[in-house]
Amino acid sequence: MSKAIKNLILCHPKDNVATASSPLNTGTLLSLTEQKTIVAKEQIPFGHKIALQKIRKGGPVIKYGERIGRTIREIKPGEWVHIHNVVGERGRGKGRKKG
């Protein structure tokens, strides 16, 4: 079940992204656990995702403990994770974006 942290919602312990439960400004310090913190590298709109760890190019994006797509470039911790750096892998014929 999902876990609410201040400003973030983490759906599953396996996830490498979390959802912003309020808009995040660049530089916002987010505490994931007592030991682990992360800094928002850019503005992240409400409901959008932030990377909790480095995800390599082509690596899986995990939310709800499940694979929701793959990255088209390396994503660093604290970066906004969305359609500019992630693609879905299902239901996509030849009209798909490269990557």
Binding site: G69, G91, K94
Partner: protein, 385 residues
Amino acid sequence: MNFLGYKRLDGKVGVRNHVLIIPSVACANEICNAIALKMKGTVSIPHQHGCAQLAFDAEQTARTLIGVGKNPNVAAVLVIGLGCEVVNSSMVASKIAESGKPVKNLVIQEAGGSPKTIKEGIKIAKALVSYASKLKREKAKPDSLILGVECGGSDACSGLAANPALGVTSDLLIKEGGTIILSETTESIGAEHILARRAINKKVREKIFEIIKRTEMRALNLGLDIGKANPAPGNYEGGITTLEEKSLGCVMKGGSTKVMGVVEYSEIPTKKGLVLMDTPGHDAESMTGLIAGGTQIIAFTTGRGNPLGSPIAPVIKIASNSYLYSKMKDNMDINAGEIVTGKKTIQEVGESIYREVFRVANGKLTKSEICGHREFAINRIGPSF
């Protein structure tokens, strides 16, 4: 929880008591509308279909119209056809009549044109409304309820708040012997393994994979990217990045119980508990399939704000975020946004949706009904000829 509903002759229980005016073909739309406009207690369901359709499409249109006519929220039916259509109105009328409710049929070419059909239709509608108005609500058990669960205009909060809360509602109704229909196959792509894991048997498991593959292949064979149509632009803006992410949130509406069966679009399920219906992600088409399948109430989550309703089923709108709830309060029945801010739990909101389902079953009007939303759209498989 029991409720007060309209007991029909086939043993089913309605939560509304409509007199339905069905055009069996698009050619009868305006005549049906004219009668419904005039006669209180009636509702018409204009649509584009009923002729120049290939066999499988005509069969789906007929199945939909018959199913909607049989829906327990409908007390009596008038079917109007042109006379030369593929989906013949007397066939539709006689199939609906198997449910035991009063059904009449009019044919425009036989009645002698539009004004004469309208005049005759008003006379029939008067008698049907008079019949329906004498029916009384009686005590009914929750196992007679079929709740359709739908989402439209989703945002990232849909999968975090509104959909899991509705999943709690689904589990509660199933525990009381009721039925949940989870639809929108497109929005299960990427989450089918979760549903398949919960299939009651091998046959159901295989059927789940089959409807997903069929939908996905339809796009792949056309060389198209479903992602250009679904997720929709507003979904992306709301934080949903891929179809898989949308789907994983979408299937939560069905709760956590075993999947008891899979039915085709507009097919009436024979199993109770959680049932999947193969519908597209298009909400008006999906909800039309649900009501044809016998759904009396639809619970509909939305993050971007969706006003859609149904001509015969009350649609309960659940906002996934508090911003939407306050912005579109005239369309929203329940706010699940307090889950995101930590003020309420998923369980609490799920229970409040459950209580609302029964208030609505007892006659409370939903915002979609008050606002007059009656969208009706039959899913089309092939082209017109």
